[in-house]
């Protein structure tokens, strides 16, 4: 069984300040973990993924996430928010080699000028 919890449904930051979007997961096996971004009226785009290699994963647009097995967390961070980062972010867990993919409920990131 697997599940994913995004701890905040809405996060608001000022432009130029750090971003932290929190995600905790539960999995009976070694998981793959992903962050996707969805801009308004758009499809989902992969930001970054963890698939058992380095625990600190760098993605597009300056985002990164750290896989912490002891804390079952995969939080998404960015040092400095940009207006274009305003979007919905989804944390996702899956089992490698299988089709079962579980989405979190999403975190809406608002960036204030």
């Amino acid at each position: 069984a697997q599940s994913v919890t995004q701890l905040d449904s809405h996060v608001s930051v000022s432009e130029g300040t750090p971003v932290l979007l929190r995600c905790n997961y539960s999995s009976s096996y070694s998981p793959s973990l992903f962050w996707y971004v969805q801009h308004p009226n758009k499809g989902l785009q992969l930001l970054l993924k963890y698939t058992s290699a380095a625990t600190l994963v760098k993605g597009i647009n300056g985002f990164e996430a750290e896989f912490k097995k002891s804390e079952t967390s995969f939080h998404l961070t960015k040092p400095s928010a940009h207006m274009s980062d305003a979007a919905e972010y989804f944390c996702v867990v899956s089992q490698r080699g299988y089709q079962k993919v579980t989405f979190g409920t999403g975190t809406k990131l608002q960036v204030i000028p």
């Binding site: 793959s32 992903f34 996707y36 969805q38 009226n41 758009k42 499809g43 989902l44 785009q45 992969l46 993924k49 698939t51 919905e88 989804f90 996702v92 899956s94 089992q95 490698r96 080699g97 299988y98 089709q99 079962k100 993919v101 989405f103 409920t105 999403g106 809406k108």
Partner: protein
């Protein structure tokens, strides 16, 4: 050169009608999915096909019928549309079983509005 393409992008229809949404992927992937995203942005898997074979069928009313004529296409037909069917429907694909990491490749979505 769109990897996963869905048509139509927007669909407005009356209750009780029947409609279809088409999806095609040119990535050579074996597995395709339909997801429903409601007004609260929650994404719920509906169906998954692996090489034309249905492998995931979540609790979806049988008014929804997926069809996969080949592994590059997965269409969704909806009969007797209801107000609650209004949502954005996303098609996605992933590489073959045993090789994939779980990464999904999404289409742009099809926004269905039932009046």
């Amino acid at each position: 050169d769109t990897a996963v393409s869905q048509t139509p992008k927007y669909l407005v229809t009356q209750m009780g009608n029947d409609k279809s949404i088409k999806c095609e992927q040119n990535l050579g992937h074996d597995t395709m999915y339909w997801y429903k995203q409601d007004s609260k942005k929650f994404l719920k898997i509906m169906f998954s096909y692996n090489n034309k074979e249905l492998i995931i069928n979540e609790t979806v009313p049988n008014r929804f019928s997926p069809k996969s004529p080949d592994k590059a296409h997965l269409n969704l037909h909806i009969n007797s549309l209801e107000l609650g069917d209004s949502a954005v429907y996303f098609c996605a694909s992933t590489p073959a079983l045993g090789t994939n990491t779980g990464e999904l490749f999404f289409g742009e979505g099809s926004r269905l509005t039932v009046l």
